[in-house]
């Protein structure tokens, strides 16, 4: 289990306002990603804890994101080189108004983690993957990505239709499956992932946050991975990750949004016929 939890939402709110003020102070001329944010963000999420930059966690992404709304990033954790198994990985975007994009809770079925996802980026920022061991040690990989406008951005379209379609899941594995070996699985769930920071003309204010909060994957009822999503994860959350099925069985996902709606899907993983 998580020994040290990260900040509560209300506490995070206060902290991201501080970060926002720092950001506002640093604009003016064209700015590269600001390194002034991290000390504040770090204390908000990991107060008084040491974080070591290491090579066995690797985050990869574009140097310049083409679209701030859907920035593809890939995370790898070479568990065999870690002093102890990494149990949780936090994805943090320093310059986003809400910095924690997602938390991944890992299991042995993932082997060496290989995971791709898509995140939102409000502006140029350092992006961090922070791994946590069972005894609370923290290890980090940091990259810099230039991007614009992914968080306040627009979800155009008919509200009723968007809500009706939300929760639809696509779950696949790459065939043919070789049992006992790393197998790529792809998960996408239809959801607008409203950030709570998007303006709305109808309400004359901000559209309330509405997002997928959690997705838990099992294989033959054994936990594979669970994910706590934040609104820093892109619209229609996407995950591609390797897991190791020992034998034919059922891959299952249970997801939930912040309004309590539950969605699930299962997939039979079979021998090539």
């Amino acid at each position: 289990m998580v020994k040290h939890s990260v900040g509560t939402p209300s506490m995070m709110l206060g902290k991201w306002i501080i970060a926002g003020m720092l950001l506002a102070c640093s604009t003016g001329a064209w700015a590269e990603a600001s390194d002034k944010l991290w000390p504040v963000v770090k204390e908000a999420f990991f107060a008084n804890r040491t974080i070591e930059e290491v090579p066995f966690i690797q985050l990869a992404g574009p140097r310049r994101a083409e679209s701030g709304a859907q920035v593809p990033v890939t995370l790898t954790v070479n568990q065999s080189q870690s002093p102890a198994a990494i149990k949780n990985v936090y994805i943090i975007v320093d310059a986003n108004p809400i910095q924690l994009a997602a938390t991944y809770h890992l299991t042995e079925l993932l082997g060496n983690l290989q995971l791709s996802t898509r995140i939102r980026m409000e502006t140029d920022s350092f992006v961090r993957a922070i791994g946590e061991t069972a005894d609370g040690k923290l290890y980090m990989s940091t990259i810099q990505i230039r991007a614009a406008g992914g968080c306040g951005g627009s979800v155009d379209g008919d509200e009723a239709a968007i809500r009706a379609a939300s929760g639809k899941i696509k779950l696949n594995v790459e065939n043919p499956v070789k049992f006992g070996q790393a197998t790529p699985a792809t998960f996408i769930i239809k959801h607008p992932m409203y950030t709570g920071l998007q303006r709305d003309l109808v309400s004359q204010g901000f559209r309330p946050a509405f997002y997928i909060q959690k997705a838990a994957f099992t294989y033959n009822n054994q936990p594979v991975m669970s994910v706590d999503f934040g609104v820093g994860t892109s619209e229609d959350p996407y995950l591609r990750f390797d897991f190791t099925p020992a034998a034919p069985g059922t891959l299952e996902v249970h997801a939930e949004d912040n309004e309590g709606a539950k969605f699930s899907q299962q997939l039979d993983v079979k021998n090539a016929s």
Partner: protein
């Protein structure tokens, strides 16, 4: 050394020189166009990349798009006053994008009707913060005073306006280049303003619905225009051929991204390969095409 310094001084003056004067070229009696330059919306963007037009009737003036900052809008206003003292009756925005709308504020004192697609006000509001922040970042001081001015006269389907002896027919489209596309047709001069439903030279950029855009292209081909003024690129009498080029690019992009998804290729790979047969045929291709794939791929995963 002195020549080097002279060069530096000249270099420093260039942005101001660009912002202060705006050239309007008459393409047909009473129809004037200022052609923007091809810069990406990124650092190095100076707010003057889209085409801006002025149409003059017996009673007044219509402006079609206002550029990307207040300075460009003011320069446009000055240029119009060199041509006529007639009142500016209408300021039309062809869609939501910041390079087309942020000169609007220069016309507030004229009290025109601001005209846009019925969805424009909402789209501008949703994008307000992101647009202002990124434009301040890209343009710095040049963006000072620029603000969002929403339509006072929304068009949900079609609208005709009269400039005195000259009627402009406005038409709103379902989501295509954006979800706020509007075209203008002047029967007198047989001139069609496509907004960004037509790009000439510059890579078409997608921010709406590619299938809707392909439908809009088919519809536009029916317009009996002698010339078209695209959102970007030169005024063209050969505009149907330009529409064909754009249609070919968009169809290739759509086909390639679909094929990529079907093969199970990841988005990052598709960004490297989709529509690569079009490379070399368009300006800013590497930047804009990759962005198009980045936007299109996640949408097509649900087909």
């Amino acid at each position: 050394m002195w020549r080097f310094l002279q060069g530096l001084i000249l270099l420093a003056l260039v942005p101001y020189a660009q912002a202060s004067a705006l050239t309007l070229t008459e393409v047909s009696p009473g129809v004037y166009v200022h052609q923007g330059v091809h810069e990406d919306l990124s650092e190095g963007y100076h707010g003057d990349i889209c085409n801006i037009s002025v149409v003059i009737g017996k009673n007044g003036v219509a402006v079609i798009d206002t550029g990307g900052n207040l300075k460009v809008g003011q320069a446009l206003h000055d240029a119009i006053r060199q041509l006529t003292t007639l009142p500016i009756l209408y300021v039309i925005n062809t869609h939501v994008h910041p390079d087309h709308v942020f000169g609007n504020a220069a016309f507030i004192a004229d009290h025109p009707q601001f005209i846009g697609h019925a969805k424009l006000a909402d789209a501008l509001e949703r994008r307000r913060d992101a647009y202002i922040r990124s434009n301040e970042q890209w343009q710095g001081q040049d963006f000072a005073g620029s603000e969002i001015v929403k339509p006072t006269l929304p068009v949900s389907d079609a609208l005709e306006i009269d400039l005195g002896g000259r009627q402009l027919a406005l038409k709103a489209y379902p989501p295509a280049h954006t979800s706020t596309d509007l075209t203008v047709y002047d029967t007198l001069s047989q001139t069609l303003w496509t907004g960004d439903l037509l790009f000439i030279e510059r890579t078409p950029s997608l921010d709406g619905d590619i299938k809707g855009w392909l439908n809009a292209i088919t519809q536009l081909k029916q317009v009996p225009a002698a010339r078209a003024i695209p959102g970007h690129g030169p005024v063209s009498s050969n505009w149907k051929s330009a529409l064909n080029d754009e249609q070919r690019y968009l169809q290739t992009l759509l086909d390639d991204v679909r094929a990529s998804i079907k093969k199970g290729e990841v988005m990052e790979k598709a960004m490297d390969t989709a529509a690569s047969s079009e490379k070399g045929k368009w300006a800013l291709f590497d930047i804009v095409n990759r962005r198009n794939v980045n936007i299109l791929y996640p949408a097509l995963e649900w087909e």
